[in-house]
């Protein structure tokens, strides 16, 4: 018995150590509000965010200098190295209209392709965390950076650099959408501003419908469709969003007027850029009479006739 106890405690210690030593790498959720310096992963060609403590009271220039210094020489860990190529040096920088222009010397142009992109991405993602900076622009010897195909890179936002794979740094996207719910008496639509966080592998439409199914955040608002409705599929083609729900949507209507349920979906989805119409189907078929009154077979367009007043903005996660 004693041996077994000791063994399990050793194992759990090892596990804990492994977890701690793995550090912050790919796929770890970044803490909201913390400042991360984007180093380069030692083994893979990827960015490696490392939390840093920045004195927020210090002046802009001293903060820039401190971060830059870290980026150049602050990598003392086996797992990550400096993203700044040794051949390149920063000549000067300017801040104008929330755009930070970093001016490098000639050797920048000789950087090989993946390394240049990595370097650029680390600069953009690191410096756009400054409250004063919204975009970062690269210049070489005071000339704007140009890609090999001739196009100008221009100012880049932090969100312009992505790791397309599901567990990458940008595995999740966040956006604020207006979702349409109803009130207690279900006689109209009220929009709620919701911050939606969703994985990159699913389209925004899917996140929107999921949030609608889950219901409103605010206690004053009421859902329009049952929360155990299953979203079978959703996709957009040529401006029309095709939403396929399961039979729960049909069988257990939550509102007295079918328009309320239908247009809460349509109006929420047409908020997405590129979607003009919505086609609703149940288990694949849109030849359906919703609540025996509403014909779903034709595409539906945004209808503001049912809109009531707006509710308070709130947050939601996917």
């Amino acid at each position: 018995m004693k041996h077994r106890k000791r063994l399990t405690s050793i194992l759990s210690l090892l596990l804990l150590a492994a977890v701690l030593l793995s550090g912050c790498g790919r796929g770890d959720a970044l803490k909201e509000g913390a400042f991360y310096i984007y180093f380069k992963n030692s083994t893979k060609r990827e960015l490696f965010p490392v939390e840093a403590v920045i004195d927020e009271q210090a002046s802009f220039d001293s903060r820039i200098a401190s971060v830059w210094k870290h980026m150049v020489s602050g990598a003392d860990h086996a797992e990550y190295t400096s993203p700044v190529p040794a051949t390149v040096s920063l000549k000067n920088y300017t801040l104008q209209n929330n755009n930070l222009n970093l001016n490098f010397d000639q050797p920048y142009l000789s950087l090989s392709s993946p390394n240049e992109v990595l370097f650029r991405a680390s600069l953009v993602k690191t410096f756009t965390q400054f409250p004063e900076i919204q975009t970062v622009e690269i210049s070489v010897e005071n000339q704007p950076l140009v890609l090999s195909n001739g196009s100008v890179v221009g100012p880049m936002k932090g969100s312009d650099c992505i790791d397309v794979l599901a567990t990458g740094l940008n595995a999740y996207s966040e956006t604020v959408m207006d979702l349409y719910f109803t009130n207690e008496t279900a006689d109209g639509l009220i929009s709620e501003s919701v911050r939606i966080r969703y994985n990159n592998t699913i389209p925004l439409e899917q996140a929107v419908v999921r949030n609608l199914i889950n219901g409103p955040e605010s206690a004053d608002l009421y859902p329009t469709i049952p929360n155990d409705t299953k979203l079978i599929s959703v996709s957009t083609k040529n401006g029309t969003c095709y939403v396929n729900l399961n039979e729960v949507f049909l069988n257990r209507a939550m509102v007295s007027r079918p328009e309320i349920a239908v247009y809460s979906l349509v109006n929420s989805l047409t908020e997405i850029v590129g979607i003009n119409a919505v086609s609703i189907s149940v288990n694949g078929s849109s030849n359906v009479m919703f609540m025996d009154q509403f014909d779903l077979s034709a595409p539906l367009y945004r209808n503001t006739n049912f809109d009531l007043i707006q509710a308070e903005p709130s947050e939601s996660a996917e």
């Binding site: 195909n149 312009d160 992505i162 790791d163 397309v164 699913i202």
Partner: protein, 481 residues
């Protein structure tokens, strides 16, 4: 609680349950995992195939922009729809030139898998925590002097549909498991009851024995073979016990008889003295000396009885030391020489070697004295008593033979029994108590030895004793002969 755990019924029930349930649970886990892997594999293969086809199409032009016509974009979107995933095309400046979700168009990609793809490496993965399928493949343009990678195709999708079908399967299996558990529990409890019922029946019968009904016959109770064996052995133990009780009763009645006999003689003699008037002095002398003899006999019987009872618990009080057996025998012969000379009996002593052994000197002395004394007593006048002593590396051998009246064959097995006398009249004359040989045998046994008697009527008797040289206490000294 501990008692419950030790119960056969409880253990059987638990084992039965486990044996019934565990395989099902194992099956459930294996089936679900196998199903999941095979579905995922299949989907992955399909995706790879499609992506390879798409990559071939896109690779027809050196510039990816040229390949990305509206028709091509529609085809790409159709495929990403059909597989419920997202298709991206990344150009050689690492910019997203096609996105079936449209959301990341124009963004810059920083991803190791994509960089590697530009060097020609494919990448595929299935993340078991997030359940995402991913596939990254280069688009190669084969025209011109050499192959160049013009762009990279990235496909990713969730596998919710797999999880959903799996959850149905899982639900069904869980339901089966619950039902099975309930059914098995009931069955297990019932079967364990059936199995332990015969055991309980036996316990009931044995309880009767415990209550004192020792004549209750338990040898016919039929149960499991193992328990039958136990019951048979127990039955024998009880029989032995009852025999012992009987022999004990017999012993008590024997003892009372033996003790009473001298008393009766004394009574008769003293009564006749009391009853007569003017008894002459010689008569007094004669009768009183007879009474004295009877008293001596009584004393001897009582002495022997005490010896016997002390010997019964003597294992604890064995006083073992290394003793020269030769010296001991010589001493005995010296002591008994006068008695032998009285009847002109020759005492011969043969000693083949010097024997030294671990024995209780006092007890063994008593035993050997008894044997030699008997030999003299039952020998003819002018006869011979031969005593010999020998030894090997394990035992020493002590032999006493006489050429006296001998012991009849029927009597031979009983001579070591308490109070057994071949010729009652004879031993009364010689002053025997009937306990001598049984005391001797007991002493030999305490030394883990063996005693044997051979005899022919009118020819003589030989007693042979074998005793181990070393007194082995721990194991009870049972040595193989």
């Amino acid at each position: 609680m501990k008692k419950l755990f030790n119960s056969l019924r409880f253990r059987f029930t638990v084992c039965f349950l486990l044996i019934g349930i565990l395989p099902v649970i194992l099956l459930h886990v294996i089936v679900v995992n196998t199903y999941e892997s095979s579905l995922i594999n299949k989907r992955m293969i399909e995706i790879r195939q499609r992506c390879n086809m798409i990559s071939a199409s896109l690779g027809e032009n050196q510039s990816i922009q040229k390949s990305l016509t509206k028709e091509m974009a529609d085809v790409l979107n159709w495929y990403s729809d059909a597989y419920g995933g997202r298709l991206l095309v990344v150009d050689n400046q690492y910019k997203v030139v096609h996105d079936s979700f449209l959301a990341d168009l124009g963004k810059t990609v920083v991803s190791d898998a994509v960089f590697s793809a530009f060097l020609g490496k494919e990448y595929q993965s299935f993340q078991s925590e997030t359940k995402f399928l991913e596939y990254v493949i280069p688009v190669t343009y084969n025209g011109g002097t050499e192959k160049t990678v013009t762009s990279v195709l990235v496909f990713s999708s969730t596998t919710d549909w797999i999880q959903e079908s799996l959850s149905r399967v899982k639900q069904a299996m869980s339901l089966i498991e619950v039902i099975l558990f309930i059914v098995m529990s009931v069955v297990a409890i019932y079967i364990s009851y059936l199995i332990t019922r015969p055991v309980k029946a036996v316990a009931y019968e044995v309880e009767k024995l415990r209550a004192g009904h020792l004549d209750h016959d338990i040898s016919n109770i039929r149960s499991y073979k193992e328990i039958d064996d136990i019951m048979e052995a127990t039955s024998q133990v009880i029989d032995n016990y009852r025999m012992m009780e009987e022999s004990q009763e017999q012993f008590v009645s024997n003892v009372s008889h033996e003790l009473r006999t001298p008393m009766t003689s004394i009574r008769v003699l003293s009564d006749s003295l009391i009853g007569q008037k003017n008894v002459p002095e010689e008569m007094y002398q004669e009768f009183l000396s007879d009474i004295s003899v009877e008293i001596d006999r009584e004393s001897r019987i009582i002495e022997d009885l005490l010896s016997m009872s002390r010997l019964a618990h003597a294992e604890d009080s064995m006083n073992v030391s290394t003793v020269s057996i030769n010296d001991m025998v010589l001493n005995i012969l010296k002591t008994l020489k006068p008695i032998a000379e009285k009847r002109d009996i020759e005492l011969v002593y043969e000693s083949f070697r010097a024997v030294s052994a671990d024995v209780d000197e006092i007890k063994l002395n008593q035993a050997f004295s008894n044997l030699i004394e008997n030999a003299i007593k039952y020998d003819r006048d002018s006869g011979m008593v031969k005593v010999s002593l020998d030894a090997d590396h394990e035992y020493f051998y002590f032999r006493v033979s006489d050429n006296g009246v001998g012991i009849p064959e029927e009597a031979l097995p009983h001579i070591f029994d308490r109070f057994y006398r071949v010729d009652k009249a004879r031993s009364r004359e010689t002053g025997g108590t009937g306990l001598g040989l049984s005391i001797t045998k007991q002493i030999i046994l305490l030394h883990f030895g063996v005693i044997k008697a051979e005899s022919k009527v009118d020819e003589g008797t030989t007693f042979t004793v074998r005793i181990p040289l070393k007194h082995v206490e721990e194991t009870g000294g049972r040595k193989k002969s």
